[in-house]
Symmetry: D2
Subunit: 443 residues, 4 copies
């Protein structure tokens, strides 16, 4: 990812008054440690670039470290908190819900925690969704299940109605777990709150199974998605090897970035072609995908292809269709490829045996693996620490191996993508040997 060193990384706070952090209660001297807001980590860690900036007197951009603060803003005994999950399902939602509840309850002593049902709809009276009271008992076993314990929904709701609803419920802290659209909504909600001069902290936890949140190196659920996606790749590989001229074609998630496709291909290393949104390819022509596939079959008798759902959109006329969340509806590249491969070999008179696998819903609805459980645990606890300290309009993210506060403004509206010159894509090229899939004469 290209890193913009001029990025603004200040974070908002709701006010100045502070009370001591109750985490220290009952512990011995020297047992509990807090982080100050001054503790920051560099965003860009390229030694050469940093040295140059320093020589030129610029201060390199840095993120605040997440973690508990010695003094907090809210009084836990009077605080009412709300959690909401929005958009598509993603492994780990329940882990985040659980760790937020556990930290609020046991860490800070908050007793009024409400789950908003079915995404932002839950705030809007006309949908009549009940609110769920959350406590350690209610969430103790939810991590063994996939999906969202609170339910979700797509699409925006009126910001003022949402804030009205929070005022009525006397909410002091809102945790929003959702994707790009949700985080933009979170930003607007936080703005409306500040305009009304309310003291409500809005914390975002970025959810994107595609791993494409800008300024966030890893998002929860991604690791599980890769884990499960490799099952499908193994299945496709078995189908491909199982028949003369066998072709296994797997469509994986990734609307705008190919992280799942590329990473899962490296886990399994049985993949011969990886097609992602960031790297164009041609179907026809010398050096194009179909010709290379033909060559691969001639040489080895079978082939495995992984395609990210957002790849090859240039083959389709731009359609203006958008779904309820405002996402552009993509044409189905998986089905398109399948049909074109079958047609190509039919015309050549070559019998092939193509199997098409689309495991998307199987992946996003399953429970998180242990690694993601740990990750979600940190995200949830750190979101609570940030909110208790009075931070708002902030995401809890992961950067250079640390949990950090990312201002919503720094991330919103941009996307992380695979850098074709970086090690991830270059490793895919090494592992697949696919080379360029552009026809000759094109670059």
């Amino acid at each position: 990812m290209q890193i913009d060193n001029n990025i603004h990384t200040g974070v908002l706070s709701l006010g100045e008054s502070r009370i001591p952090n109750p985490l220290r209660k009952g512990t011995k001297e020297g047992e509990r440690f807090f982080f100050s807001d001054e503790k920051k980590i560099l965003i860009d860690i390229d030694a050469g670039r940093i040295a140059e900036m320093m020589r030129e007197g610029q201060e390199p951009a840095a993120f605040e470290l997440a973690g508990p603060r010695e003094m907090i803003y809210f009084d836990p005994s009077k605080l009412r908190c709300a959690l909401v999950t929005c958009g598509g399902l993603c492994p780990g939602l329940n882990g985040i819900i659980r760790s937020i509840v556990l930290e609020l309850y046991y860490g800070y002593g908050v007793r009024n925690i409400y789950g908003i049902r079915f995404g932002l709809q839950g705030f809007i009276p006309r949908y009549r969704h009940d609110v769920v009271e959350l406590s350690p008992g209610a969430v103790s076993d939810i991590i063994r299940k996939g999906g969202s314990f609170l339910g979700s929904s797509r699409g925006p709701q009126d910001v003022n109605e949402i804030v009205d609803s929070m005022e009525r419920m006397n909410i002091g802290m809102l945790f929003m777990i959702g994707g790009d659209g949700t985080l933009m909504a979170a930003s607007k909600i936080a703005d409306a709150i500040l305009e009304r001069n309310l003291k409500i902290s809005v914390l975002g936890i970025p959810k994107t199974i595609d791993n494409d949140i800008y300024m966030v190196s890893r998002s929860f659920g991604f690791d599980t998605a890769v884990d499960v996606a490799t099952q499908s790749i193994r299945a496709a590989h078995n189908e491909a090897r199982g028949y003369p001229n066998g072709v296994g074609l797997i469509k994986l998630m990734g609307r705008h970035s190919g992280f799942i496709a590329a990473t899962a291909s490296l886990a399994q290393q049985d993949v011969n072609f990886v097609l992602i949104p960031e790297v164009d390819f041609d179907l026809e022509g010398t050096g194009g995908f179909l010709e290379k596939l033909e060559k691969r079959l001639a040489d080895s008798g079978h082939a495995v292809i992984v395609v990210a759902e957002g790849a090859g959109q240039t083959f389709f006329e731009v359609s203006a269709k958008r779904d309820e969340s405002g996402n552009i509806r993509l044409q189905d590249i998986g089905v398109f490829l399948k049909e074109n491969i079958v047609k190509y070999f039919k015309e050549k008179g070559t019998d092939i045996s193509l199997k098409y696998i689309d495991p998307s819903y199987n992946i996003r609805s399953l429970p998180a693996n242990s690694n993601d459980h740990v990750f979600c645990s940190f995200l949830g606890r750190n979101a609570v620490h940030a909110a208790m300290a009075g931070k708002t309009k902030v995401l809890v993210g992961h950067w250079n191996n640390h949990f950090v506060h990312v201002p919503m403004s720094a991330s919103a509206g941009k996307r992380k993508q695979i850098n074709p010159q970086g090690r991830l894509w270059q490793s895919v090229l090494e592992a697949t040997g696919q080379g360029s899939l552009k026809k000759q004469g094109k670059v």
Copy 2:
């Protein structure tokens, strides 16, 4: 299943001359036990029916028990064996290949074992598929992989060409692992062999992930299929619960019988509707599926539907299309249901969130679970014992909890189906509460 007590259950033998079974070699007195051909188990075990038959002087039908015989027909030191896997992939193929090879090699001392590649194509010279030499080393790790170590293909090949090929290779024993079509081919091959007066044993191991082989209570891979299918049901359930009016629709394998659909629904018990080929249902009308689905959504806010691929074929005009294996091409009931559900609620003005999951290739290509490994191990070893004893035109099956010899003639051309009056389907009715899905006035 209706059991035909008049079934002919004799099994063919290639000849009379016998040599001692080498399994006894190097063992102590009383350590090795052999089964005689006289050892049989009843097919029908209904106490009342058996008593009545006895009273009437009829002899109830029985299967020969599988297992090693004291005297065998073939001379292991001169024997050359061939294995072939045909048709669609199924968990456990590699387990059977492995156990056949291990038993031939270590148990009987056979040293010439050949794997025929890509199904029956491997016998036909013009396909130019090499033969694979099989030994314990070659197969030691294959059970960890799905698919078929030997490859497979669909469709028939000329029986005479196949027998010619076996003559050229001097094969004395052929193990054919495949579905209904394959077993019919096996039967024809065995007939041709007997006509030519060759001494080649043809053993079948029935493969059907759908578990629909007649006179075989359980087929390998079925247990794994149910195991993996429940993952998809869980995912569908999470998707359904995750959204207002969420509907999870899963299509599972089962062209002519709903065993996977029914059994996986009992494993998970989160399913509200199970649709199988054996039980008709109506879409429209009072008491029909769509109305009941609407009621379920109104009551509970979500629903999970499992449909076997062969269900509801009455909704389609009969098409005469057949695939390469001669199977009738079914219309896609999953897509059909999905479209009709969406249309129905759109017309009613009800927002629903339907997710459609079709995990078929993910299931059939994965490795077998431990239970199926054990089962495959028994099937493979018993197939070897039967063939060494000179049996031919025989399947190794499982009946009333015993491994038995099933004459190919007893099974071929018929299918096992779910009995709507039996405990399996009645348990599904208890677990789902779905009741009849026929519209009123119809039965």
Copy 3:
């Protein structure tokens, strides 16, 4: 297993008055099917033995088929039911609890279902364990967890106190899930109930991860145990192959029978020695275990040994120690073997690398796999059907592939063991090639 054809297989009923089964309610003509008590399946299905008995005018023993009866004894609207789980944990306990609750609630309309906590202790006032109210909501997600939702305990409690407690709670139906000791207690409780002329049905569901319940061909959790045990065998195999003269030694459950050890060895087929309680072996001497192990290491450089916990008890002096459940405390054969192997090779001056794995608690505490979920679902539902029909002193078991009613008297106090002449053990001999491990001169 030796089958006793003189076994008494009648089952007790509480009384004669009957009401129609509510399962039929709201269903169409011909949709619901019931089984009559006359429907029985043969216990012994050996065709020759049955024919001989018939000729001699004897009636072969048979089990009543489980399943719903057309007329039932209890009035669901007035019925209060209790469930209790006793003894060691076993995968599937929660599946049985769930299916009993679902069938009682949805199938028969029972609304008062109580979970007795921590085994029989839960009946005894001085332990002060609360009773848990059970409903579909309470049990909907418990199958994803291992252990027992109700808790368990070892050891007997006073039968009269238990029956007093049930009288006080006005219980009409008791489901006892437990092992040999529990089923004997169940028998005594049922006797005490009949003596007091109470109308309480006592149903047993046999629990034994070792699969050693007499007259029950398969017990729940066994399949999961084999599944998980193979992980340990794989680990042991990797450790063994990983070092010069590597030895992997795994102790598996099986106090009196080696079913888990034998079956898991067949799943994996990387095992060289299987030691079980049913087959004696010698450590020392020509042809003894240690000499054969030495030979195996010399030939192949590594070895994998699976030992059931009850094997080789002849090496220990009989100790009279018993645990709280009255089971004889076994000496630890795993540690004993480990020490003897190490000592033997030390004396020979051979470096070996032995790794000892004891996965017991890891196995019995995990959730059931899909196969066991299905099995538990049938056991639980059939237990409810039997109890509703007024049966008592009955186990729900599995025999010849059918769910049946086994009179407690037919099973209690005996154990199922591996028949050394049967196919299971003979297959183990074929798979391992271990032969006899008795020293020469002994048989």
Copy 4:
């Protein structure tokens, strides 16, 4: 971890002559990207400390980025490479072997790749271990298996004999995969090579399931270990909840650092006490472990304890015993705790039900999960890139989310440990609520 900014991070190179990297062959302009040695990332990324160093004119320490270089040192067509795995098993060994072989073979065109069997023993003639020829075919399926495809052994071998052996085999590149001891041996081997003025590159890939390699933020296999360890924690939790006063005690790996224990506890969050080497605790006394455990049982009726194998060594008298690899033999803290807990409650007259689980061999011998597969793939490929570029005495490590070259001298002889003031341990304190386990009056 405390970071030493004065660390020397230069890396050794074998010589100056260079040839073009063949990775570019057959690719289009702009498709392949190489990294220069000038590309470095900061080791310490604390924004404040870096700014201060810069102000004081110091250059912050940095690691070279791993990856392919434009010009390489070795001629692939003449190169002979060797791989060796040493010490204990660890998930991912086979993934690293495979990715090294694939990159050497397909990426650089190397055809002579040798696997040294059973660790450093494989170099020493008197052990007579054969060498394994490695090719893509030989390693294609090994990642599905745990253990080491090459085998391993513990303990040092004579450095000169090893180098003699490499000279005889004409090896140009040695990949050593092993723990602390192995990396020290690697360093000595590299020194001996440089002394003899040989042109042999020695690359290390640090292996430590405990994740305690200094200057390496994550080591392969750790993620899998946490994954599998959580199974045991779940089992222990089920056992603990399953009985009155149930105690589940799990011993996890971690000789000198508690990373597995701490991380697995965060994955599961059902743990009440985590005991690690880095944080002292008392057994007896007010505020000590046993008293707190008693309080926990009184409050909640059950408790789960995770102990790292290296915890609480202060309870034992220092023993001077060391194993073959020179590691100090630790006393068994798991058994010690078990005995002390049982004794404590026996004296108090409280019945408890303690279950002790030690899953170590089950964990280290299993195959890696997908996440570790990806990680191993990067490690292996980057090791090849480094070696081809002529680097030697270098580890391939992971730091601040990048793959880097770590000079062996920077890492050897030091260990990474959990910082009790850092977020990992503080999160464990939040998750368990265990507080200090030192008796009052002690700090």
